[in-house]
């Protein structure tokens, strides 16, 4: 198959795939329907403080697996839904930030700086339209960069890196994530090694399941989804419960009379373009690096926009340029975050973790450099799925352009759902989602054990992302080590033999040392909070 035929096959797998139902004799493809469903749920969830894209993706994944099963046909509907959620939540997070000064997602913190003052001036509708326009523009730009960069990067990796270099590259990625997430690189590294250690329990190649103490409970290993949901979601829920219990307060919501004309004219949109363009480039650049959060992208986008701005209303006092600069930057992170996933098989953020989990659970698609083998003699089904995934992302963008703004306008009510009511429901929802996957009450105990681990990590400011990424990558890393060792003929210095793998290893050490320097206070509290989380 030629490149064009692969692209076409990917597009057709989505738009001409199995139909969910017929309308006037025309079948509605299930993948398109799932993207739409995920997108709407994503906006609603993003607009609900306390919920965010990763929460929704985590809870939906076990349900989706139960519905679609574990056949390759399930890949595109499930991944399409998760992509829809990811994109919906990105725009949805701006809604409560603008209307109630409460960011729906952490990266929307900076949207409150200008969005809420605009709403106070009676321009809430205009602020929402600005946020939507900037967000969807940034997101689309970032996706286009992903579509062009990921295949090239993957081809280069596959062509030039052997087993040893791949193992060293995984180590470099882990070191980078551990170093940049959180306040202390050493704690990040501890988290990463802990993830590798726990992933080793009950796995391996020998007939005896290692580290299982000979028990049946540990012999089959730690259930992947339960562990990830426990650490990432339930740990956060427990942490939030304790915080809310300590801090029983309710925010008063005041109503402001809104202006009649809330349109965002073409002239106004044109004035926003330079801010959106610069922020989209900044966000895409930041997003392509694993582990760096969208809050940093939003802060850099906002700071750059502030320097460019010469309008009558300064940044921070309710100017649309401020909203646009922030939203374009944080939204353009989501597409670029998938560059390391698709080209290297390394998840760079929590959203990507769930895409990899979905792919690993279903099977038939292993995100990484081997996906982009443009073989002409035989069909590479993984490549068709990759182009199908790109198609679902574009579909979600089109939906976002057409109806995203309208949905944003009606989901403001979600910000009024009290967190103390919502989070206990999230707990039960997550436990139920885990149960339908495992069908065993023991899964609850596993989930709670990992929830407590996640809670302790948050309390002790040990970042959870390096733990989860290392946990997921442990199998690949061990495999790469074994293969490289075998190819090197049992040479114990196999990792240091190639100049490239030596370079990756030295770079890992350099990254850790660089980020271990004493840090200056962060420019804003959102960054500080994300760094310390």
């Amino acid at each position: 198959m030629s490149v064009f035929e692969y692209v076409l096959a990917g597009v057709l797998a989505v738009i001409a795939g199995p139909a969910a139902f017929d309308i006037l004799g025309i079948g509605v493809p299930i993948t398109v329907l799932m993207v739409f469903g995920g997108f709407v749920i994503g906006i609603v969830g993003g607009a609900t403080p306390g919920l965010a894209g990763p929460f929704l993706m985590a809870v939906s994944l076990p349900i989706l697996l139960s519905i679609f099963g574990f056949t390759p046909d399930a890949l595109l509907p499930v991944l399409g839904f998760l992509v829809g959620v990811m994109k919906g939540a990105t725009v949805g997070g701006a809604v409560p930030a603008i209307l109630f000064n409460t960011p729906g997602t952490p990266d929307a913190m900076l949207t409150t700086f200008d969005g809420y003052p605009m709403a106070k001036k009676g321009q809430a509708g205009k602020a929402l339209r600005t946020a939507h326009f900037a967000s969807v523009s940034g997101d689309t730009f970032s996706d286009l960069v992903l579509f062009t960069c990921a295949p090239f990067l993957a081809i280069v990796v596959e062509a030039y890196l052997g087993f040893g270099e791949k193992a060293a590259l995984i180590l470099l990625s882990l070191a980078f994530v551990a170093a940049v997430v959180g306040a202390s690189p050493m704690k990040g590294m501890i988290a990463a090694f802990l993830g590798l250690f726990i992933a080793a329990i009950g796995t391996g190649e020998d007939s005896y399941s290692r580290l299982s103490f000979g028990t049946e409970a540990l012999a089959s290993g730690v259930p992947l989804i339960t562990a990830v949901l426990g650490v990432l979601i339930l740990g956060e829920v427990l942490y939030a419960f304790e915080q809310m219990w300590r801090d029983r307060r309710s925010d008063e919501v005041t109503e402001t009379q809104q202006q009649r004309d809330q349109r965002l004219t073409w002239k106004e949109r044109r004035k926003l373009f330079p801010f959106i363009g610069v922020s989209a480039v900044v966000g895409t650049g930041i997003g392509a690096l694993p582990g760096i959060g969208s809050t940093l992208a939003a802060t850099l986008g906002y700071a750059t926009g502030e320097r460019m701005h010469k309008g009558p209303v300064p940044f921070g006092q309710g100017t649309p340029e401020g909203v646009a600069a922030t939203e374009a930057a944080n939204s353009s992170v989501s597409g670029a975050n998938l560059i390391p996933v698709l080209s290297l098989g390394i998840p760079g953020n929590v959203g990507a973790v769930f895409l990899i989990l979905a792919a690993e659970s279903i099977g038939g698609f292993n995100p990484g450099p081997s996906v982009f083998r443009f073989s002409t003699s035989e069909i590479n089904p993984e490549l068709i799925i990759a182009f199908g995934l790109f198609t679902t992302m574009m579909l979600a963008n089109i939906m976002n352009w057409i109806i995203g703004g309208r949905i944003m306008a009606v989901v403001g009510i979600m910000a009024r759902v009290p967190k103390q009511v919502l989070l206990p429901i999230v707990l039960l929802l997550t436990l139920t989602a885990i149960y339908v996957q495992e069908m065993n009450f023991n899964a609850f105990y596993f989930a709670f054990a990992f929830a407590i681990l996640g809670y302790l990590m948050r309390k002790l400011r040990i970042p959870t992302l390096p733990f989860v990424i290392a946990f997921i990558l442990a199998g690949n890393l061990e495999q790469a080590f074994r293969q490289a060792f075998a190819v090197a003929g049992g040479d114990p210095f196999f990792l240091f033999k190639s100049p490239l793998s030596l370079f990756f290893l030295l770079l890992s050490v350099a990254v850790i040392i660089f980020f271990s320097r004493p840090k200056k206070p962060a420019a804003n509290k959102a960054i500080e909070a994300e760094r310390d989380a």
Binding site: M186, I190, L194, R248, L427, L428, E478
Partner: protein, 190 residues
């Protein structure tokens, strides 16, 4: 970063954990050592990954210990206090009660109010039949959601009770009603 003494404690605990894991747990609980030779071929054994991970934890913890020692003394609050203990005591009590009720309410309700006849009906036979399949999930789920909400708010209210019941009902609508193959907790265990 947390206070200096807390960071030192974290480093010491992980240092001990890493050393114990790498030096004791892994060698005694793996079939093959980190590197072994079989039929004149040298392989990486099952102990390699966890031993590297354990040693990595220990090395990073030791480095963190040194860095923390070099920090200036401060008087930041410890991350845990008596309130943490109190909260988790009540919280885990609610969760344990909800798990117990979720697991046993269905079989108990069937034993008390189920059909009677010559042949006793087991819960396994009725685990996919309404209303029995909902009893455990509704009671356990309600206790969990309502209990935690009330704990956080510090009061019981009828409104929150209603919200909790509605939430459980919505979850049944999501997970159970559309699918024949999915079993709500705890029905898969019977």
């Amino acid at each position: 970063m947390l206070g200096r003494s807390t960071e030192i404690w974290i480093a010491v605990i992980f240092l001990i954990l890493g050393v114990v894991a790498a030096a004791l747990w892994v060698p005694f609980d793996s079939e093959t050592p980190p590197i072994y030779t079989f039929r004149r071929q040298t392989y990486i054994g099952d102990a390699m990954l966890p031993m590297v991970a354990g040693a990595g934890i220990a090395i990073c913890a030791a480095t963190h210990l040194i860095l923390s020692f070099l920090r200036r003394r401060d008087d930041q609050d410890a991350p845990f206090d008596r309130l943490t203990g109190l909260f988790f005591l009540v919280f885990l009590g609610i969760v344990a009660a909800s798990f117990m009720l979720m697991f046993w309410s269905g079989p108990a309700a069937l034993a008390l109010f189920g059909p009677t006849g010559d042949e006793p009906v087991t819960y396994r036979q009725m685990r996919s039949t309404a209303p029995w399949k909902y009893v455990g999930f509704v009671i356990g789920g309600f206790v969990m959601v309502f209990g935690i909400t009330s704990l956080i708010e510090g009061k019981f209210s009828a409104r929150r009770a209603l919200t909790s019941i509605l939430a459980v009902a919505v979850l049944i609508l999501i997970f159970d009603v559309p699918f024949d193959t999915i079993l709500l907790p705890p029905n898969g265990d019977f």
